[in-house]
């Protein structure tokens, strides 16, 4: 049996008296695209931060690529971080570096490569995410929101990660840009064999690229294909998929 990319068992998260996750179990298979949905305040981004090791859960076990996060020493943590890439919601590009330098930053930090090779790899990643060649020399403040996301994706892919985390990848993009971004993620996922975990509100994205969906309801995760979750009885899921926007997005499915 293949080890799952991510396995979460009995996760509990709390902020003071407020419990966000209780007894949450979730498994992400290798090579799948998993969408995480949930209402505001259900802890989607918190869950992502916990998987990334930016936050410690109150209780429970998180395994990424077969390694228990709680038992890693610094060196192992660093190696694990090299195997995962993250695209933050606003791109989180370093504003003092050009786009190309942003992509080079993780490479520079981890590998000893020649300047010429660094420039080539940066150009490669930028081309991979569909940015025009002249974008590399620009600073983040000089490019549009959609380009920032693509640049952030190029940086997330710099180390050729096995797992790619996306936080609201299509938020703030126009529908055409969002659809193109969805296609891009799907293509990259297939050609690079990535496992993708994405937090999203965008039903079109769920529909277009997610193999399975995890809905955070009642402090736990309900996992299934889109069709399964749509058929579920839970009132929040009914409201989510059954609302006007939900029906419109799903109508395309036919």
């Amino acid at each position: 049996m293949v080890t799952p990319a991510i396995r979460i068992e009995g996760l509990r998260t709390e902020f003071g008296p407020q419990v966000v996750h209780a007894e949450l179990d979730l498994e992400v298979r290798q090579g799948e695209v998993l969408g995480i949905v949930g209402g505001s305040g259900t802890g989607k981004s918190v869950l992502l931060r916990e998987i990334l090791g930016l936050m410690r859960p109150a209780a429970g076990r998180i395994e990424v690529l077969g390694r228990d996060l709680a038992e890693l020493d610094d060196g192992e943590r660093r190696r694990l971080q090299g195997r995962q890439g993250v695209l933050f919601q606003q791109g989180a590009l370093f504003s003092s570096l050009t786009v190309a330098e942003n992509v080079q930053a993780p490479l520079r930090e981890r590998e000893r490569l020649s300047e010429a090779l660094l420039r080539e790899l940066a150009a490669l990643k930028l081309a991979l995410v569909g940015l025009p060649p002249d974008a590399g020399a620009k600073f983040p403040a000089q490019i549009s929101g959609g380009m920032k996301k693509r640049a952030g994706l190029a940086r997330a892919l710099a180390l050729d990660p096995e797992i790619l985390f996306l936080d609201e990848p299509t938020a703030g993009l126009d529908p055409i840009g969002a659809a193109a971004f969805d296609r891009l993620i799907r293509e990259l996922q297939q050609s690079l064999g990535l496992t993708v975990v994405m937090v999203t509100h965008d039903l079109d994205s769920l529909q277009a690229i997610c193999d399975r969906v995890a809905a955070l309801v009642d402090k736990r995760a309900m996992v299934g294909s889109l069709a399964e979750l749509r058929a579920a009885e839970h009132p929040w899921l009914q409201a989510y998929f059954g609302g006007v926007r939900g029906r419109a997005a799903l109508a395309a499915e036919g």
């Binding site: 504003s95 003092s96 190309a100 490479l107 590998e111 000893r112 490569l113 020649s114 300047e115 010429a116 090779l117 420039r119 080539e120 790899l121 150009a123 490669l124 990643k125 081309a127 991979l128 060649p133 002249d134 590399g136 020399a137 600073f139 983040p140 403040a141 892919l157 180390l159 050729d160 297939q190 050609s191 690079l192």
Partner: protein, 381 residues
């Protein structure tokens, strides 16, 4: 051949007309530096032309970086007149390779840097033009602020009292400890140094004159202004700058509020009230520190110190110092707000402009202080 999980390797051999390259092992980022060197050596050493074959059958792993290297070798050989074919591509890597081959890459050339002297001159020129332009902008900003002041004078109801008192607390009340401490210590240092030098002439008693006049006329207010520029001027830039990044300033404009009236005026007014008060406090603290030192080091009694001080300083000395305070405050506040409003987009520019705001306002304070000195000497005060 080599062990399957081993690091990446590349060999080349010539078989009559055929150039045979064999790649194997892990062609991934971890071994990229080595593979980069090897592949450059192979391609630069390959003179001539004819058929070349790259055999990839022994690859155990390939990522985008590795695929790029394979593609680069292919391109480099083609550029040297070889007819290149890929052989034995493992099926699981075929997609990645064709994906990378399809991309149209524009690798930027190593940027050429002009020589040092040219860069120095260019930088000097740019700096001068930027400074001149900035001075003009600052002047026009001062003018706008003065107009806004006028409007508020005509309609006092538009003054934002809550904001004003908030900034008074921040810039005045909360600054008392640090301003007092610095002035107190400066007083001690001046009294000590003065007494040391004046003792040679047997004129130690004039230490009190030195202390009183210099603290009241210059040091008290000037030091306070510098501390306030570092403390409040920078805070103004950072606050307004962060609002600018957050698009809060644009939000203010769209609901019909004038940032000048809402943000700049309360800060400027608060600082113009705060700086004279702080300056007065600094004068007291400085005299207290100096007096303490004088009593300890010169064996003066406190009463003698006070009598000597009274005979040495006149109200004019005090007012010459105090009258500068609101002017300094006006400049510090406006420079701070001006730089804050100039912030564009990035977090980096908040930091850069905050530094600039402190440097420019301290510079202006000292320039204006010098102008005051000249003015007062003309007036004979």
């Amino acid at each position: 051949m080599a062990d399957q999980e081993g690091p990446g390797w590349l060999t080349s051999e010539r078989r009559a007309e055929l150039l045979q390259l064999t790649a194997g092992g892990r062609w991934t980022l971890a071994d990229l530096a080595k593979l980069d060197r090897e592949s450059r050596a192979v391609t630069t050493g390959s003179g001539g032309g004819g058929r070349a074959r790259i055999d990839l059958a022994q690859l155990t792993a390939l990522d985008t970086a590795g695929a790029w290297l394979v593609h680069r070798i292919e391109q480099a050989l083609e550029a040297r007149g070889w007819q290149v074919e890929l052989a034995g591509v493992p099926p699981q890597h075929q997609g990645l390779l064709t994906g990378v081959q399809r991309l149209e890459l524009a690798v930027p050339a190593q940027p050429v840097r002009p020589n040092g002297v040219v860069r120095l001159v260019a930088r000097l020129g740019r700096g001068t033009i930027a400074a001149g332009r900035k001075l003009l902008h600052l002047l026009s900003f001062f003018g706008e602020a003065a107009l806004a002041f006028g409007r508020v004078l005509l309609h006092p109801g538009r003054l934002r009292l809550t904001s004003l008192t908030h900034h008074l607390e921040q810039t005045c009340l909360n600054a008392l400890p640090i301003v007092g401490l610095i002035a107190f210590l400066l007083g001690i240092v001046m009294a000590y140094q003065g007494a040391d030098q004046l003792r040679r002439f047997g004129a130690e008693i004039f230490t009190v004159d030195l202390l009183g006049i210099s603290i009241m006329r210059e040091i008290g207010i000037l030091m306070t202004a510098i501390v306030v520029a570092g403390r409040s001027g920078s805070a103004f830039t950072a606050e307004i700058g962060a609002m600018q990044v957050n698009e809060e300033i644009d939000a203010l404009r769209t609901i019909g509020l004038d940032p000048m009236e809402v943000l700049v005026l309360p800060r400027a007014l608060a600082l113009m009230i705060a700086l004279p008060l702080l300056g007065f406090f600094a004068v007291l603290a400085g005299l207290f520190g100096g007096g303490l030192m004088a009593v300890l080091a010169l064996d003066l009694s406190p009463a003698q110190f006070l009598t000597q001080l009274q005979s040495a300083v006149s109200p004019a000395h005090f007012w010459v110092g105090m009258i500068k305070a609101p002017v300094f405050a006006f400049m510090i506040a406006l420079v701070g707000c001006y730089e804050g409003l100039n912030v564009t987009g990035s977090a980096e520019s908040v930091g850069r402009l905050t530094t600039q705001s402190v440097v420019v306002s301290i510079f202006l304070v000292i320039v204006v202080d010098a102008m005051f000195s000249i003015l007062f000497s003309y007036l004979g005060v």
